[in-house]
Symmetry: C2
Amino acid sequence: MIAKTPVPPYYAVIFTSHKSSDENGYAQMAMRMVELANQADGFLGMETARNETGITVSYWRDLDSIKKWKENSEHLQAQKLGREKWYTNYKTRICKVERDYEF
Amino acid sequence: MIAKTPVPPYYAVIFTSHKSSDENGYAQMAMRMVELANQADGFLGMETARNETGITVSYWRDLDSIKKWKENSEHLQAQKLGREKWYTNYKTRICKVERDYEF
């Protein structure tokens, strides 16, 4: 799905990751995080794809809503398990979307 | 691969797409565009993943290098063929990366 985002400016969080071989609990947690993000104030949408590399881009109204999402207690627990179990490495980039266009 | 990008600020182009069933010439063109982008002034790196949705994020030094890449003649031809043949729909977002962190 291509996220239906509003007219810019808005924010994007690009999360690029490589997974470990430990799948235990991952799919369930990933689904729960999507559900939780959808309820978060300022959440605008999400796009995700994975081959060897996984890319998840979530879209947000402003930096404050990203900060609150990062500090959500369930999400903090998911981040901790992610570092301990599911990811070998990842990078997160916080971006301001200045322009967009589509076909 | 997670792109090795410099300390922010820099720019990201998030290209999210759905492909048509026409694969004719696509893989060859995609490889050529990666090769060409790698030679472009201001190019910092690229990440890509595809399932039903494809996400390619390219990173750039500044808006001017993104503009020149968009207007590169071979890339213009690829964009035209993309709209005519390979993609049913896509969205491109131009973003300023303000912060990043990694694990």
